[in-house]
């Protein structure tokens, strides 16, 4: 889908929808079982930014990493999740995954 000068694929549109839904959940104070809404919103925004910087050919490792990062928010503090996300990117680059 082309919006102005930008082209969005379906995954990015789904990320946008996720951000809107999370924003509504935070605004109306809806509970999301087990997950912290603000943590999820932070992760999804960072995933969207990272997705925009990566070519589509690297979608598979990127989405595996994103899903693991989202589920890690259940177990470890958000700071460690963000560190894990960036460190995994560096390791992906070193291992020539991306």
């Amino acid at each position: 889908m082309k919006i102005g000068p930008f082209y969005f694929d379906t995954k990015e549109l789904f990320l946008f929808i996720a951000i809107i839904l999370l924003g509504i959940a935070i605004y109306f104070n809806w509970d999301i079982y087990f997950f912290d809404r603000t943590k999820l919103l932070t992760i999804v925004v960072i995933v969207l930014i990272a997705k925009g910087l990566l070519p589509a050919i690297h979608n598979e490792p990127f989405f595996i990493l994103s899903l693991i990062a989202i589920f890690l928010t259940l177990f470890v503090p958000i700071f460690q999740v963000l560190l894990f996300f960036f460190l995994a990117f560096i390791l992906f680059k070193l291992l020539r995954v991306i």
Binding site: I64, I68, F79, L91
Partner: protein
Amino acid sequence: MNKTRIKTIIGIVLALVLVLLLTSQIFWGNTPRFHPLLWSRIKSFPNKVISLPGEVISLLPIPFKKQAALDDDSQASSFFGIRFRETTPKAKKETVSDDDSKARPTNVKPKEITSLDDISVVTPPSYVKFKQVAEGIKRGTDTKTGTEYITYEAGTELEIVTYTLSDGSKVSVLVPKF
């Protein structure tokens, strides 16, 4: 499973292990602030690596015995045929002559210093050699009597610091101001 997927899993697992193990060592309480002990940890890391073999050896279960039990050679422990005896350096026995005991009375409690007037000023014998122990302060010992002399150069700033010992007595010492 192709090569990229294997590398992806390796990258994710390695990142997770590194984060879980190192975050608490580097960062302060899950915040982006660095740990206050980080620099000292980095500085002591080479020493830790060097002392690692010694620590590993010290963990080996070598059955050392106390010196008292080792008076008899038959009680010395052995490890793979090598016999060990624990030895401790014997304390050097001091021989105190009559002259020395006069020069160094042992039962004199240090006097509490409240001002510089409490310090007795004497002229040391000419053969006493002085060595600098701090800026503006020299110390020398009379080898014949054992009396210690301390000289303060003019202009040296000193302060009186009082310590309370474990037996409750107070000791005042002169400490140079830095």
